[in-house]
């Protein structure tokens, strides 16, 4: 069986060194991270990290179990098991060599709903969010003009509501009642 890509969400307590532990675990056990993003979740003191890892199913199962063993890890979810939404943010700086290029680039960007965040005589910086396919397609389009640099956040993901992920926050519940 060939390796499959898995998008995993790991909810962790904001404790010093928790990322080091996770990164160390991946390194030590020879798991390969394709992307990783970390930020605050809806609860204070709790962060949500999203990983993309690829590997055989057994490897991924080990990743999950080993992560779950870390004391500061609260929950590990493999989104590949259910429906989820995922997004990524990219900043891309493209070369503008001629007025014609400028028009064409802006037209493509509009089609992708990419926002211009910086303008100069010889370059444009775009901000684009979306799923991975959209990101890759935009990068391909821009390649012809000359990509000067780009940065991507890596994917972040949440389960879709109907698949049972998440629950209403306490406040909202009170209001509903």
């Amino acid at each position: 069986m060939s390796p499959r890509r898995h998008v995993m969400s790991v909810t962790v307590r904001d404790r010093p060194g928790v990322l080091v532990r996770i990164a160390g675990l991946f390194a030590r056990r020879g798991f390969n991270i394709e992307s990783l993003s970390v930020a605050q979740s809806e609860e204070p003191g709790i962060s949500r990290t999203t990983f993309v890892v690829s590997g055989q199913d057994e490897t991924i199962e080990q990743v999950q179990k080993q992560l779950q063993k870390l004391i500061d890890v609260l929950k590990v979810v493999d989104h590949s098991e259910s429906a989820f939404v995922d997004r990524e943010l990219m900043l891309l700086k493209v070369a503008v060599r001629s007025p014609d290029d400028r028009v064409e680039i802006r037209q493509i960007a509009q089609d992708f709903r990419a926002r211009i965040v910086d303008v100069s005589r010889h370059a444009l910086v775009f901000e684009l969010t979306g799923d991975e396919g959209k990101m890759n397609a935009f990068v391909e389009q821009m390649r012809d003009f000359g990509i000067i640099e780009l940065i991507r956040t890596g994917r972040i993901a949440l389960p879709r509501s109907e698949s049972g992920g998440g629950r209403l926050p306490a406040k909202a519940r009170t209001r509903a009642a």
Binding site: V12, R13, P16, G17, V20, R21, G24, R28, E58, E61, Q62, K65, Q66, Q68, K69, L70, I71, D72, V73, L74
Partner: protein, 577 residues
């Protein structure tokens, strides 16, 4: 109250009576507070020994072992001990001093990133930056170390935090939402397990280190079902060696019967073990026909190496009695007939035509103690001989570094074990290589006059490496020769104030061993044994357990051809296994 006193009070609250440690600059406030504390401190002569002693204290008693060390070199010296405890699931809490918080990150004197260094070799670790956190951190550390799958936890406390004034409450409630070990086995899984076991025609039970806490439950399961029981190196004592249902140790230096049973069985009940590579050999040849029921408290061990058909996550003390209840006696007479036949075919043997060999020394200790002692070992050939010929019958009495294979473990481990089980005879089976890795602890043994007899099986070489060189590296004996520069071990012991004996032949060994044991004093007995002895049977690394080299004859056929008949055919005597 200062942070250092808070630490000791918090340790007292955890029931800590004894700490193994070594002071230094960054932990001096703690040692100052220790001066007025009821906690007993055992001054080891190297921090590594402190960690091993604390580890063995847990293994021998089930009570979490504690060790102290200073910052930098003191803390890095703990690393091998922590890794040893981590691999063998031993509950240890290590406390290290660190440089003051203002100096952290400045490459201060005796500073090391202990939090970073020890992360991979501990179950969890802490760097305490606020004195108010000490009671909570200590309570969490003991909880984490001793519950679920036990393991070492390190607490690093900067010197200024030890000196800071504490105004909080010592009373804390442990709340770790990310740490909830599963104790109770899942009912559905238990039912599946019971069905599979009841349907088996050739079942075996394999008990690992997890069995040390579940001696009674393993016994009851085995007695009711009549299942054959294999105990791994870590499982020795979890089921009594020599009991009619015991098949011995599996794996690389396991018994022929245990390994054959694995190859031929149709079901394995794996209880509290992790199917380490030394146990399984080549995974694809391991128990090819078996349904695997794997019971372990650590879900990550299940299907990590050997695929479990029926996984059961839980504590053996919960799972086994529930299985025992639903199962009756298994109808496996034909299977037992085969096993008994194998058992009779391959008794332990050793050479009679040499003045003294390792196995008979161990045999003499077994006879002299009646097995009623705590055995600790170093790592190497002597360890395997001890596992095979000196397995104990009670839990927590065979203490050895299994997973990490740490040379230098046995001598300090005997100190920890001796404090854990006061008054009990401890026999440390050592090699002349291993014993020198923490030999300084003879001073600690002398100081406390611990009833430890250190039996050095001195073959003048690093025996296990030599064995592999002989068998797999064309007799190229690279850097294994010790005899030309070994100390006179008897004199060395005497220099430490301990009785020392050099023994060269079997008659003297037989006479001296009971006499020395009867003294109840520390002693070093240096047995000069046959150099080229090998541990057999052996499953070569990477081979299947069905590809065992059973005995000297087979191996010597290969070897004598190349080594001028150094090993002339020898007469062998049989010893009951």
């Amino acid at each position: 109250m200062k942070g250092a006193e808070v630490l000791l009070k918090a340790l007292e609250r955890q029931g800590v009576e004894i700490v193994f440690g070594h002071p230094g600059g960054a932990i001096m406030p703690v040692y100052d507070a220790l001066y007025d504390s009821p906690i007993k401190h055992v001054l080891v002569r190297h921090e590594q020994a402190g960690a091993h002693a604390a580890d063995a204290y847990y293994r021998a008693s089930g009570r979490t072992g504690v060790c102290f060390a200073t910052s930098g070199p003191g803390a890095t010296n703990l690393v091998t001990g922590l890794a040893t405890a981590q691999m063998d699931s031993s509950a240890v809490v290590a406390v290290t001093g660190n440089v003051a918080t203002a100096l952290i990150g400045t490459d201060a004197f005796q500073e090391a990133d202990v939090y970073g260094i020890t992360g991979p070799v501990t179950k969890h670790n802490y760097l305490v930056k606020d004195v108010a956190d000490i009671p909570r951190v200590v309570a969490e550390a003991f909880h984490i170390a001793s519950t679920g799958r036990p393991g070492p936890v390190l607490i690093d406390i900067p010197k200024d935090v030890q000196q800071a004034e504490f105004h909080g409450d010592l009373e804390v409630v442990v709340d770790l939402p990310g740490y909830r070990p599963t104790v109770a086995g899942h009912t559905k899984q238990l039912r599946k397990a019971a069905e599979a076991i009841a349907a088996a025609e050739r079942p075996i039970m394999m008990v690992g280190g997890g069995g040390q806490v579940a001696y009674q439950q393993v016994m009851e399961f085995a007695e009711k079902t009549g299942i054959p029981v294999i105990t791994t190196l870590m499982g020795i004592g979890a089921y009594p060696a020599g009991a009619p249902q015991a098949l011995g140790m599996p794996g690389m230096h396991g018994t022929v019967t245990a390994n054959r049973a694995i190859s031929h069985c149709d079901l394995i009940v794996g209880a509290g073990l992790r199917f380490d590579d030394r146990v399984t050999g080549k995974i694809s040849r391991f128990a090819p026909n078996a349904t695997v029921v794997h019971i372990d408290i650590d879900p990550a061990e299940i299907s990590k190496l050997v695929k479990a058909h029926v996984p059961v996550v839980g504590d053996l003390r919960d799972v086994l009695p529930r299985l025992t209840e639903t199962l009756g006696r298994l109808d496996i007479e034909p299977w037992w007939a085969r096993l008994d036949e194998w058992k009779g075919m391959y008794p332990e043997r050793y050479k009679q035509d040499k003045p003294l060999v390792s196995q008979e020394v161990i045999q003499l200790f077994r006879e002299a103690t009646g097995g009623e002692c705590v055995v600790t070992t170093e790592v190497g050939q002597h360890q395997m001989f001890a596992a095979r010929m000196f397995p104990t019958t009670r839990p927590r009495t065979f203490i050895t570094s299994g997973g990490l294979g740490t040379m230098g473990f046995g001598l300090p481990a005997s100190i920890g074990a001796s404090f854990a089980r006061p008054g009990e005879q401890v026999v440390c089976i050592a090699g002349d290589g291993s014993v020198q890795m923490n030999i300084q602890e003879l001073a600690t043994i002398y100081k406390h006059q611990l009833p430890i007899v250190i039996a050095i099986l001195n073959n003048g070489v690093l025996g296990m490496v030599r064995q592999w060189q002989e068998l797999f590296h064309a007799q190229r004996y690279s850097e294994v020769y010790l005899a030309d520069s070994n100390p006179d071990f008897a004199k060395l012991a005497e220099a430490y104030g301990i009785d020392g004996y050099n023994v060269f032949d079997r008659a003297t060994a037989a006479e001296l061993i009971p006499q020395v044991l009867a003294k109840g004093k520390p002693a070093v007995m240096n047995f000069v044994v046959y150099e080229a002895e090998k541990v057999f049977p052996m499953v070569p690394s990477g081979a299947g357990v069905d590809e065992m080299i059973i005995g000297d004859q087979e191996a010597e056929e290969q070897v004598t051809a190349a080594s001028d008949g150094e090993d002339a055919p020898s007469s062998e005597s049989e010893v009951p296994a």
